[in-house]
Subunit: 216 residues, 4 copies
DNA sequence: GATGAATGAGTATTCATTCAT
DNA sequence: GATGAATGAATACTCATTCAT
């Protein structure tokens, strides 16, 4: 009779690789997981396939990840870190007084570039799977922070005085995120990612312009 | 959607129900499938559960659907039909000469209403699962048609003469679809679906206004 | 991402077989499980082996038992039922006024016969595995009832007036149970099960005789 | 004990620790194993857990024990040694002419004390696992020796002349061992280990008294 | 000698699908 | 037409054991 444990599901990596060798293994696993999930989707991306593609035994996979979900979570965290690295500089420019108008293109281009790299994987990461509540909350928090910063930046801009900066900011963020996903992950034929970025920028500009108090 | 192989796989309903009783059974199955997929997701929504909830034996389910994917496909078709039914009148108004400005709100409201009904199901139908290529193409075709119609309507509008009607139309459609999904399926806290619709409308209006040739 | 259910572990049979065919399957499975556990022990008695020996697919096993433990539980219940069936008549004789001295031999013989049938299985059922708390409690309850009945019977016996009937009864039950297990499940060489029964009877008789208030 | 196959399998410690450090390691491993088996049972007591708890790498564990079973065997031997150490003096008293009646209480108390120390471990050692045949035989031999000695002692006792000293001795040993296990490892609520010892002593006394030739 | 990364056969369990009744 | 018992390939995951460093 198996003992009745309390099944607390861990999602953090199981142990930190200490030797150089294992560091390599973990990286190979994450890389393999990204490819496998991208090609097969999450459900059909089996742990055995991931291990195989990583050139590693299934046992090694489970030495570093307590379960399949943990791999996904690690991938999401990786993406988050990359996103922050790409966005942080722009946000600092914004807070440093640069005009929203100037920063916007860079933000959008960064977002588009970020997603264009491995569109299938992003689909899996953010659409196909139901992320665990903790991670979901983490992402939502992050977005809220972005919204907050954007709201402040937009409110400060002397030329644009939006009536409801918070809502405007939320829509702006959603538009950027939503359209990037929509257009980059499933690009309509005959539309370059360059054109996509351009249109997103125009869209946001137009929206903000409309939503402000012209003071007339 | 599970398989990556390319076996010969039928996705059409196995046989058309001819008697009233069968008709009822099929409807019960689709309704049950919608509920089960909404609650459990596609992968965890087992055919046995669907059959059980439909009050029908698993054997009967397979009498009408050759496999699990076929149920999903039927559900997508159903959704498509409903969408068309909701959108067609507006499109006809558009083609009949009504101003895009007038029709836009109705379109957006229709879209939002369509998705607000069973958000979880829509997530499953359009995000969680990798639709079979044929269906995917079908959906894309449909969207292309919408784009085409919208392009014509926008181009015809005497007050708005967009520089690239086709691209503008595509963006408009994507914005409506993308934001509806993004905002309705995972609504930010404190934002009503009414507000969402309003902002989408504003967004599109602003964009079109910007994108036109003012003739100055 | 798999949905996070609350893992309540069921141990009851999964569904009651409704057709005659499945009744047969369940019986074959239990019989096979008894043999497999007896030969290999619980841990090494795999579900696949059980299914194979039952001449049934592994899927069928899980159609009737939600997990491996449930099979063990069913086996214990089966044994319990058989034990009660064998013991009940004697207990009724006891309560009906028959002398403890007369009934004792029959009880011991019944116990020995019960265990001599599949000793290895009983070892697995009651020694090797840590039974789930509910079942453990059930067994303890049963034993407590036996103790209670024995205590009453012994107390009533005019010839035996034990000082502490409850404790004496407990020891008597434990002796019968403990020695049956010890001697039947791992019989010393050269001792027949007949001799074992005889000695157990003597032991209990001597004990009770000693433990009574001689009234001197 | 897992394997049912009969591979060539070493169960002796792999190498005798020669340096003081190694001696310490082996002791730490056995101590850890005892704790881990007591807490988790044999099957769930993994070698990695044992090594971890011993503060030793898994590699080191296998330096001293060829496999998991060998650890169990070592533990059994350890227990045997302790048992002999506790029992030997009493047996010598017996052979030295002390009355069985006088020695019995000390034997029983020694047995109870021995088992009360780590009941869970004893359950694992002697009930949960199917000991390898060699060890099983070793244990049985030991018991036979005890029986022999007891038989001689009992036969010699001028006051007790049992009809079949060998059988009586066997029953006595079994009673002591069986009831100790039964009552110490799974004590009925409300019964102290002191009371248990007392009742076992009484039981054996009564039995021997009954089983002797009164000479009438 | 010690370490711990790597291994992979083996385990319980699920679920889409078939087919005898 | 309907039923539901039966199937078994496939999956996530474990753990005793090895061996390069």
């Amino acid at each position: 009779m198996s003992s009745t444990r309390i099944p607390v599901r861990r999602l953090e990596p199981r142990k930190l690789p200490q030797q150089a060798r294992s560091q390599t293994t973990v990286e190979a696993l994450l890389e393999a997981a990204a490819q496998v999930f991208e090609r097969h989707g999450y459900a059909a991306g089996t742990t055995n396939r991931i291990a195989e593609r990583a050139g590693v035994s299934i046992g090694s996979l489970y030495q570093y990840f307590p379960n399949k979900d943990a791999i996904l979570v690690a991938l999401v965290h990786q993406h988050l870190a990359e996103s922050m690295a790409a966005l942080q500089p722009q946000l600092e420019r914004l807070c440093g007084g640069a005009g929203f108008d100037d920063v916007l293109p860079d933000i959008v281009h960064a977002m588009v570039a970020l997603h264009a790299l491995a569109p299938g994987l992003h689909r899996v990461l953010f659409e196909e799977t139901q992320l665990p509540p903790g991670l979901r909350a983490e992402l939502d928090d992050l977005e809220d922070q972005l919204v907050e910063q954007a709201a402040v930046a937009v409110a400060d801009d002397p030329r644009w005085r939006p009536i409801d900066p918070r809502l405007s900011a939320r829509v702006v963020i959603s538009v950027i995120e939503g359209l990037t996903h929509r257009l980059v992950l499933r690009p309509p034929s005959g539309v370059t990612s360059e054109a996509i970025a351009r249109e997103i920028i125009e869209l946001v500009r137009a929206y903000i312009w409309t939503r402000h108090d012209t003071g007339d």
